[in-house]
Amino acid sequence: MQAQNSRRDFIKKMTAASIAASATTLPMAGFLSSCSPSIAKIAASADTVILLWMAGGMAHTETFDPKAFVPFEKRLDMKRVLSTFPKKPTVVDGLEFSEGLQSIGSVMDKGAIIRSYKAADLGHILHTRHQYHWHTCYEPPQSVQAPHIGAWIAKELGPANPVIPPFIAMGQRFTMGESEELKAFHSAGFLGTEYGPFLIPDPAGGLESVRPPQGMSLKRFEARYKLYKTLANKHKIMEQGSDYQRESLMRSMEQSYRLLNSPEAKVFDLSQEPKEVYDTYNTGRFGLGCLMAKRLAMNGGRFISVSTEYEPFIGWDTHDNGHARVKKMKALIDRPVAQLIKDLDETGHLDRTLVILATEFSRDAVMEGRPEEQVKDQVSRQPDVIDNEKHYGMHRHFTDGSSILMWGGGIKKGLVYGKTADERPCTSIENTVVIDQVHQSIYHALGIPPQTHYEIEGRPFYTTPDGHGKPILDLFGKSLT
């Protein structure tokens, strides 16, 4: 009930937001000349995007595209093993997932699966380069700083609720290996920091990011702001003619005051959730990220990402113990992802929220890279015939086939798009999908024209390289079931 009321409130505020947004998107406007206005707008089928990021390379054959299962035994020839888990049916006829993903399987009637994503060929594997490519649509390095897809969306659409930052990235810390490379794409690039990610590494502490500093009461917070305003207005500088720099400072302070002082800040407070809901989601930081994503999507979030977090050799980056670790990872994602879809669906928010689950590339037991372009092996201690269970799993990086799940925001329900070969190499063999199609499909759902671009250092820089990407229109439309 309460959600209903607050929803109405938000619609009111959103109107105010669009006015506010038009006033605040000034910063880089003089520097960038958008060429988009001349392009006809397309109708949007989604207002919000949630990206559930499986960082580290999730094997499609171990998750959403299972192949022939061979159980572990001594003297096992790994070449025979395509999957280390048995298949389980899902709610969609004929669609099977790997064991341990039954909850997600049960909501596949509300979404679609792409089984034919093909990552770029970037040679000797560096996860963060592929992640950079997935999130910006450009292969690093670039001669200008490429914006994250979340920054593009923040720039083009602005906040859906003026007090909720339009680009929120959850779950990733930047303190371990490859952290600099991670930072390189968690960025608004040339669009300017205004559109950069609002980072929440630990969703459980999400409230910290948006509430007045610790130990500061609301009363004191208000008094402090008042003091600043009074002092600022006392000085003659403020009486001199208006200046864009001073004004942008005063305006941004005003905005942050409003955000920190607004009731919406509660959206970031997971303790507002009933205990059983909290517990359902709480499989760890990722699960709580899903819960936060739900709250944000329902209250005017624009682009929200939740990452299982990338850390070299941790998470989905299984260089050893693949089977055991994937089992844990499935347990981490299965329940909260399914619950997120259910909750959004039940409250009617799924209609306008596009949820995507993806990874930078897949894994394989035998092949590093792709069939026509095998690259330097990074898992050299992997014997062909195994005795030890720690060698049982998909330990090499495979770039030729991987799965993407999508729900809501106009996505066809129950659709299975594309397929991979049932025998090794399990490459994409039908309706191969590449990254610029994925990006354009997202922009299409949001009503952002495919030719959107800005001129930077004399170069027209498009949302997808050269503006070539085409949305996969087959993904959208009426339900199949």
Partner: protein, 944 residues
Amino acid sequence: MENSNWIFQLLGRLHPLLVHFPIGLLVVALCFELFTLRGKRPGLRQGINWMVFFGAASACVAALFGWLLRTQENYSGDLVDNHQYAGIATAVFALATALVLRNTLKKQSADLRAYRFMLFATVIATTIAGHLGANLTHGEDYLWEILPNHKTVNNGATSSVLLTELGTTDSLSALQQDKLSLEVRGLFAHKCYQCHSENKQKGALILATKEGVFKGGESGLAIVPGKPEQSELFRRITLPANHKEVMPTKGKLLNDREIALVKLWIQKGAHWSDEKVKIFPEALLALQKIKLPISNQAHPVDKLVDDYFQKHNIEWPVIVDDPTFIRRAYLDIIGLLPEPEAIHQFENDKNPNKRDALIDSLLGDHRNYTQHWLSFWNDLLRNDYSGPGFITGGRKQISGWLYKSLMTNKTYDKMVKELISPVEGSEGFIKGIEWRGVVNASQRTEMQAAQNIGQSLMGVNVKCASCHNSFVSNLTLEQAYGFAAIFAEKPLELNRCDIPIGKIATADFLYPELGIVKGETIAKRLLNLSDIMVQEENGRLYRTITNRFWHRLLGKGIIEPLDEMDSPAWDDALMDWLASDFIAANMDLKHLIKRIMSSKTYQLPAVSYKKIEDTKTDYVFRGPLVRRLSAEQFSDAISQIISPLYPAVAFNPEGEKTKAKRVWHKEVSFNRTVLPEPGKRYFRKSFNIKNKKITNAKILISVDHAYSLFMNGKKIAEGRDWTQVDKLEVSNYLKPGKNTIAVEGENEGTIGNPAGVLFSMKVLYQSGETLEINSDETWKSTDLLPDENWTTNSFKDDSWKAVKNYGTQNWGTLPDFSFKNHDGKFARASLVKQHPFMKTLGRPSREIVTTSREVQATLLQALELTNGAFFNNVLEKGAIKWLEAYKNEPEKLVDQLYQKTLGRSPSPAEKNILMNTLGDAPQKEQLQDIFWSVFILPEFQFIN
């Protein structure tokens, strides 16, 4: 209609052929007529008569055909009109002459005077008509351009000028043809290359090459020479805007003038000039010699600006007062705020040259000058202490070299030489950033070197041309690759948009007029290139850096954008004079700063603009722009005023090196080391003390996040702030024989995060011998709560594991982690690793060259300042310190705060507000809030 028209058209086109008959016949007739004067050579008479008759007839036919040509092919213009009148006059005169001659002959009269006069007039008319006709076909300049002192008007020939000039002619001179062709090619480059060049061949059509243009594309022939109406290209550009086949699809449609130009070009046979299309303006490489204008102003910069102001009807405003000037000067030269005493002294200084003296003394503060300007150079040369590429060894810092260069005020030409032809420590600049795996050809490290030298040093965009011929300058793919080839070990194959095109690049600098780069080895080529680049003839190099310094000191360049030095300057004379002056001063960077800052121009009041756009279009210089404190200036100011913002530096140019390593319990999950989980960990290290007298034993310790320190079972210290180095004297706790240090460390937080113990102990015996114990891999640790006696000597730690060295990446180097006395210096922000706080305030991640930073405040910045834990903690620390210092003097506190922060005392009204906020018994919370409010003030954050 169409069917009969062609006959008239054909006849019309015979006009240029026919006109030669009347000209030849009538002129020769007149000559022969002259020979027969006074009855001589009567034999010629018969011939002359026929010549006149035929001449007159052909003149009439030629005039008729001329009229046909004009009406059939839509000629217009004054030239055509005049030619027509002259032609008709010729025909009429010729006819009249012929009639008079016939009558005279009939009368058998010998009086030829009337006829002769008529013939003479006819020939004059013929000459005029002929000349005008020739102007039409060969161009009005045709005859005169070969004269010695003739000036061509070729430069700046816009399409409209060309149109009026050529539109009226029927056949063009070679020169005109070339001009027309280049103009049309320029138009293609701007409007069509985006989709129709070698890079991108939509509809299989290339408009960038001769072959491509005449081969056409999928829709057939693009151009049918002479026939616009049959040319597909012409059809497509003339379709209505909403037609689905209209071209171009990207950008604006062609305007009427541009369409007319294309039409004319096709009509005239679509000639293709092989000349290189230079469609973008290019600045001269050499500096112009500037004579200073005569002016009342004393300073050369002011003389030039005075001239500029006069041209723009601008009155000189009154220069800024002393407090404003000293704040600017401090921030611009050393990046710090002037202390209240310095301001006071300066204000009371009676020396008329005190501003110059201040500039000199600040420039003499080498250390602070270096630590401020380091940020400028790091941005420009894309040098940083962390960032992508370091992890795989694909990148190298030049920090040490750069620091030294600034400390010693190395001349700019020497710096450039060493950047291009590296010496020890400067290799990192041209090395670029190498990522693991396959990268786009335009991002190979050789190309990065070309791009970065182009952008940083020469102010030219090589980035575009490294993928395809540039759309924004005249640079070609071949030139970019030629430049890159200088840095290449092996032959470099050209790639167009990442696809090899089977051409090998020839090493060549972008501006071959400065010299040809030779050498078999890279080293030789680089040495050669560096010599070529720094020569004075390369004015562009010096103009570029001069302009950057001007921008840095006045908020806006003389030329903008800073990286496109082919753009016009708002004052050319000022630009080139300053650059020449810089060269004349031996490329001394400090001279350049002084030259600019000592001018009245620099000391003008800052100009406010309503919108940022107002600083871009139609910019007129009136004074410096209002500038915002940079991330580094803001950070340093906070450190200076209340409490160090950063405890540690990433680059430590002066400090001593410690052998201590930051260690923690090795945390493992699935055989992989992971980030330390929150919780307590236990550390031990045993050592031997000789049975000798100890003079002193000192300990330094810093633990992330908290620690308790035990010596031989006794707790001797604890701490909860790793940024604070705790210093202890422990000789009383040591005893001969085995001793044990034990540390209980605690990692805070809710999720795994970096943790580490940093420890160093120095024992000095009276004998002069020393013992040093440092935290390193010989220490042992456990994550299980040990028995109670774990801090004692007798405890058995055999089951404990060796600790892991976590390096300095997450903490940097603590300048205070030293046994020497610390003199209160704080870590300057320029030496600190990129930090979220500075990043939010606009310090760029230096993966690419950055030459100007964002100037406007953003919401994320405001959020960081308003509730960021980092900033808040510093404010709190500062409040505690200040309360101690000004315990019972709230009034003095308020006054000092304003003096230190804003360089002035608070007004009575301000004082009143602040005193009310502080209350009778000031608490740290209130003071913290006052700090916050003052640091956010526009008066503080802007350089006015």
